[in-house]
């Protein structure tokens, strides 16, 4: 049962990754560990015209994703030690004293949220900047966004403001985990599947 959520306006995210780095700064994360990742979705066909010009039907947009603190969290279910757990307020946290670094949550999460810290041998992930939230401040990523496309708040509030849409191509079916992630769809998203669009910046979002 999650009570807080993120909102991401994919129609206006530039992909600048200020959110990713402000998060890394807040959490002191070395390169290779990304609590927040920005996925670049691109699909297109290019054709040369009879005039010798170029035509394209490109669709491109970005998805900024941290941890969605799902209402039905696959990671919590999978964790053998209960290190990964839901707080009463719905935030999904990792107890570093219990984690054995088996990385099973990494497999179980359809969003790539849990990150393995090699040096410490345990998993880490976005905690909604719980300390900030308890102080009444937004998470570091949200207040960093130069385009103001990220929001944080109680789920009910986000739904009221933006509607209950929790997916955009190619995010997994939200019925799997009920993510507390609300999305404004990029206008091109409806063509993305037909264009066989895919995430093309793998080296930027995975090790």
């Amino acid at each position: 049962m999650s009570t807080f959520g993120f909102f991401c306006d994919t129609s206006a995210c530039s992909g600048c990754k200020t959110c990713q780095v402000s998060c890394k700064d807040k959490n002191d994360l070395d390169a290779g560990i990304r609590f927040r990742r920005v996925y670049e979705v691109v699909g297109a066909n290019w054709n040369k015209t009879d005039e010798g010009a170029w035509e394209h039907d490109i669709v491109a947009y970005n998805l900024s994703i941290g941890c969605n603190h799902c209402e039905n969290p696959a990671c919590v279910k999978a964790c053998p030690t209960k290190a990964m757990h839901a707080e009463l307020d719905g935030m999904i946290l990792i107890d570093p004293n219990k984690c054995i670094g088996c990385r099973y949550c990494e497999w179980a999460c359809p969003y790539g949220a849990p990150q393995y810290n090699k040096l410490k041998g345990i998993m880490q992930k976005c905690d909604f900047c719980r300390d900030y939230v308890l102080e009444g401040k937004p998470p570091a990523c949200v207040s960093s966004c130069p385009m103001r496309v990220l929001e944080f708040g109680p789920i009910s509030q986000l739904i009221e403001k933006h509607g209950d849409n929790r997916s955009v191509y190619p995010l997994p079916d939200p019925s799997i985990t009920r993510p507390a992630l609300f999305i404004r769809k990029h206008p091109g998203a409806k063509l993305a599947k037909k264009l066989n669009a895919s995430i093309i910046n793998r080296e930027e979002v995975k090790e």
């Binding site: 999978a78 030690t81 209960k82 088996c102 099973y104 997994p172």
Partner: protein, 289 residues
């Protein structure tokens, strides 16, 4: 082949080898003897020791997989929802049963019927354990794993590794009939695996399932391993046939069986290692998350 999953490859194969040995031992060696009321075969102590050794190797490598093994005992604390927790519990129970069985074998070889029940129980635990192991991988976030192919693959690996190994160890002891049946298993499992492969691949490549990405990874990034596995299967089948036709009712000729049985076992083990490495390359979120 580069893989960060070597500890898991060894862990899962070792546990499956151990369980496979126990199942084959139970069904194809103990069961016929039991029915024919032959005295309990003390000469098969070694089989149990090998099964136990494999299980222990598995347990050790499961630790190597962990980032923070000092907390390992905590992994038993979420049996309620975590298949991984269940697996670790299962491995411990299985290993304990196997150890008990082995000790009894050595200490009370005359225990007879009760020992048989203990072996039955251990083998059954092994069968359940393999199912639990496969459930770990059957998660929506990893669609290329989330199918019946995963338990099927694990069970076939267990059976063929157990059968081929016992064929080798039975050279001087086994009956003509059991040798023949183990050889048939050694041949038929790779044949089935080969037969299933196209079905599996078309499923992997189907856009509605693994988004086609699984197949692409297999054929683009790991083509050499893919072919290597095919060759190893074919070799295993060939050596299996060689072994099959070498088996004589005259047990004095059994030494002829050694070479083909050893080659069959070696190629099967190699095939399963490559197979398992390829299995872990399917650790993909098809969308790329």
């Amino acid at each position: 082949m580069k893989s960060s999953e070597w500890p898991l490859v060894i862990f899962s194969l070792a546990i499956q080898l151990s369980a496979g040995i126990m199942v084959i031992y139970d069904l194809f060696i103990l069961f016929p003897m039991y029915r024919s009321r032959v005295a309990f075969p003390s000469k098969y102590h070694w089989i149990l020791l090998i099964a136990l050794g494999a299980a222990l190797v598995g347990v050790i490598f499961s630790f190597l997989h962990l980032g923070n093994p000092t907390n390992a005992p905590r992994s038993l604390s979420n049996i309620g929802t975590s298949w991984l927790s269940r697996e670790i519990t299962g491995v411990l129970i299985y290993s304990a049963l196997l150890m008990g069985t082995t000790i009894l074998h050595f200490v009370m070889p005359s225990a007879g019927r009760s020992l048989k029940w203990l072996v039955d129980l251990t083998a059954l635990t092994g069968v359940i354990l393999i199912f639990i192991m496969s459930k770990i991988y059957m998660i929506p976030a990893r669609p290329a794993w989330n199918s019946v192919f995963t338990p099927l693959g694990f069970y076939m690996a267990a059976i063929v590794m157990g059968a081929s190994l016992l064929l080798l160890f039975q050279i001087n002891h086994g009956s003509w009939a059991s040798q023949k049946s183990l050889a048939i298993l050694t041949i038929s499992i790779p044949v089935i695996q080969l037969a299933i492969l196209p079905i599996y691949m078309s499923w992997l490549g189907h856009p509605d399932f693994a988004g086609g990405k699984g197949l692409a990874i297999l054929l683009h990034n790991h083509l050499i391993a893919f072919y290597l596995r095919l060759v190893l299967y074919l070799l295993a089948i060939a050596f299996g046939f060689w072994a099959f036709f070498t088996i004589r009712s005259d047990t004095t000729q059994n030494r002829l069986l050694f070479a083909p049985a050893l080659l069959a076992w070696a190629s099967i083990l190699a095939a399963q290692i490559v197979d398992r490495l390829l299995f872990y390359t399917q650790n993909i979120s098809p969308e790329g998350f």
